[in-house]
Symmetry: C2
Subunit: 137 residues, 2 copies
């Protein structure tokens, strides 16, 4: 399992924003094999006396084609969501992608329509200003 | 655009089953670029005095990992469906995959659940008995 080039960036940004990394990676059973989601993290919500738990799959989109990387990320997100819901029903899966990539995807009418339809949760990260995270639900 | 190794097999099997190949490939507009679905085909339905039209994306699943090929095929199918619905509203998109691959995917509980959920239309082909096609809607 090759570590994604933005792995440390997202991990550090989560920690700076009060998240505790609980899994690196988060291992799930997928029938006969294991799958690995990049990170599991937890944040204590004092007001509600419970915690919020997330799994984060990080995509750098540094491949040859944004579209090819996008296909892969979509299919993977949908399968991981289902596997996560089976094993960890109260966790939410986020797809972490660079700000620039999100902008490109959203600027395309058809890709944007597909993104809205698939109800993916995003964690947008800024590869220059490393602390900044934006959550899109 | 690399031609898939099973391209000719599926094309011939469609023709032997009474389909006329109308596009090879079928080009669709995706905002600023073109995408290419492997085949477009049409069959005249005499009883209904009209024709059935399909677009077929062929996947060989000969890559390193069935799962990686599967992610890619899923994402691509969903985007192509949307693009096809925009440009050719009365056409139906089929994902053509080898019989053996379909069997592997369906034997996995989670993959099978995802396949059912995504409402993909399959065209299963037999790479040994080259005329045989199975339609799964």
């Amino acid at each position: 399992m090759a570590k994604d080039i933005f792995h440390e960036l997202v991990k550090n940004a989560l920690q700076k924003n009060g998240w505790q990394i609980t899994h690196d990676p988060l291992t799930l059973k997928l029938s006969k094999r294991n799958i690995f989601i990049d990170l599991g993290a937890e944040k204590i919500l004092l007001a509600e006396k419970n915690s919020q738990k997330i799994a984060v799959e990080i995509k750098s989109f540094v491949g040859f084609s944004v579209l090819t990387d996008f296909y892969h990320a979509l299919g993977q997100y949908q399968l991981y969501s289902l596997a996560l819901a089976n094993d960890y029903p109260d966790w939410i899966l986020y797809l972490a992608i660079p700000k620039e990539t999100y902008k490109i995807l959203k600027s395309d009418d058809l890709l944007s329509e597909l993104l809205d339809k698939l109800q993916i949760q995003y964690l947008i990260f800024d590869s220059e200003n490393k602390d900044v995270l934006q959550w899109i639900n």
